[in-house]
Subunit: 243 residues, 2 copies
C-alpha cells in the first residue's frame, strides 16, 4: 500500500484545488467521485495541489486530464473555500488509525503529515464533460473512481458535499451562458436529450413544444439526419452545435 508523500517545496502550501466533474447519462446528472485506497471507505472529489510554477487554472486542468483522460475540458472556477477549520486532520488521523501499515515515525513521514494536516484553502472548479468520452482513471491514492448520481453521492471527506452543492448552484446560474448544457452532450444529440439535461440540472420539467422552440431560436443548432431507434414512432432529428 502506498504511503502519502508530497514534495513539499514544489507546491504552494495550504492551497488545493478540487474539481466537481459533471457528466450526463441516461436522464441523470453524474459527478465523478474517487474512493481512496485506505481502509475505511473514504470518498473524495478529484483534487490536488498547485505547483509553484503553475497557474491555478492549469493545475485544475492537469488534475482533470489525469482523472478523465480528456484534454480541453470546459472548466470553470466557481468558489474558494477557506474556513479556518478546513483541514484534513480528523480524516488523516482516522486513516492512520485504520491503516497502521502506512503510519511510521520517520521524520520524513512526520513532515508530510504536518504539511497535509495544516488548514487548507481550496479553489473549487466545475467541469462539464461528455461522459462517453471520459475514461475515469485512478490516481495512486484511489481504489476506484466512479460516476455517482448527483442526488445520491456517497458521504465524502471534509466539506466536499458542500463543494458539490455550491458547484451545482453555480452551474445553474450560468447554464444559459456559453451554451453549457451542450458541453454535457455528445456531438450528436436529440432535442429530448437537451431537454433532459436542462430538466435534470434545474430539477424541474418544461413543456416539450415550448422548450424545443426556445432552444431552436438560439440559432446555434444544425439539424442532421434522423435517429432511427426501431421504436414505433416518429424518429427524432439529431442536432449538432454549429461552431
Amino acid at each position: 500500500m502506498n504511503k502519502i508523500t508530497i514534495k513539499q517545496s514544489d507546491y504552494i502550501p495550504q492551497l488545493s484545488v478540487d474539481c466537481v466533474i459533471f457528466g450526463y447519462d441516461e436522464g441523470s446528472l453524474k459527478v465523478l467521485v474517487a474512493k481512496m485506497i485506505f481502509k475505511g471507505n473514504f470518498y473524495a472529489l478529484p483534487g490536488g495541489f498547485v505547483m509553484q510554477e503553475e497557474d491555478i487554472d492549469t493545475a485544475a486542468a492537469r488534475i482533470l486530464r489525469e482523472r478523465t483522460g480528456i484534454d480541453q475540458i470546459y472548466l470553470q472556477q466557481f468558489y474558494t473555500f477557506g474556513n479556518a477549520d478546513r483541514n484534513n486532520r480528523s480524516f488523516l488521523t482516522k486513516i492512520a488509525k485504520l491503516n497502521p501499515s502506512i503510519t511510521s515515525t520517520s521524520p520524513k513521514d512526520k513532515k508530510t503529515f504536518d504539511w497535509l494536516t495544516k488548514r487548507f484553502v481550496t479553489v473549487g472548479y466545475y467541469a462539464l464533460i461528455d461522459i462517453s468520452k471520459a475514461m475515469p482513471q485512478k490516481s495512486e491514492m484511489d481504489q476506484s473512481i466512479t460516476w455517482y448520481d448527483a442526488n445520491a453521492l456517497p458521504a465524502m471527506i471534509m466539506d466536499h458535499q458542500h463543494i458539490v452543492h455550491k458547484a451545482l448552484s453555480a452551474l445553474r446560474n450560468s447554464l444559459d451562458e456559453n451554451l453549457l448544457a451542450f458541453k454535457l452532450l455528445p456531438e450528436k444529440f436529440t432535442m429530448k436529450d437537451v431537454q433532459q439535461v436542462y430538466e435534470t440540472i434545474y430539477d424541474t420539467s418544461f413543456v416539450r413544444t415550448n422548450f424545443q422552440k426556445k432552444i431552436l431560436e438560439l440559432n446555434v443548432l444544425e439539424r442532421l439526419d434522423k435517429k432511427f431507434t426501431g421504436a414505433a414512432n416518429k424518429a427524432p432529428y439529431y442536432y449538432r452545435l454549429i461552431s
Copy 2:
C-alpha cells in the same frame, strides 16, 4: 518611513485577500483605492493576508473594518486570481530602488522580502457600502486612501485593475439578487437615486417611468415623507427598504 514587516508564521503563505470596495456618490460609482507611502506613486486595492486561525471571509471583513471603519458590510467573494506569474517582485523591487531608506541587508528584512516576493494567490471580494457612512482610514503602509471614480482609476500595482473589472462584472451579474443596489444607498433615498445607481452600474439608461414601476413592484420599499430641495418642481418621495 516604515519598513515592511510581516510575522510570517501567523499568516498563510502565498495567499492574500483583495477588496474592491464600491460606493456611490453623486451619480458615479466609486472604488476605494490606497496610495502607498513609498515614493513612486504606487496605488493598490485594500488588501491583506489571512491569519492561520482566520476564515478568509473574516479576513476580508477585518480588512474592510480597518479601512472603512464600518462593521457589518455587505461582502461577496467573487473570484480567485492565481496565475503563476502573479507576484510582487517587480513592484517591490521598484520600491526598493526608489526608497533606499527602507532597504536593508539584515537577515530579517531579507526574509520578509523573500516572503513577500513569492508568487501569491489572491481571493477577491467586493463590498458595497453607503459611502456617507465610511471613514476611509489609511493603513500603516498608505499615504492616503481615496474614492476614485470606477471609470477613472489610477494605474494600480499588479493585476488590481483586472480585479476591479472582474468585480464589476460580478456585481452586474447579481445586482438584482439580494437587492444589492440599495446597499450602496443611505437609509432614505429617492427613486432617482436608485435609478442612477442602476444606470451607473450597468452604464446605460432606463426610461424613468418604467423604471419606477419595476422597482415599486418589487414590494420592498416603504414610501416616506417628501424631499424638499427648494427646487421649483414637484418634490420626490423618500423611500426606505422595508426590513
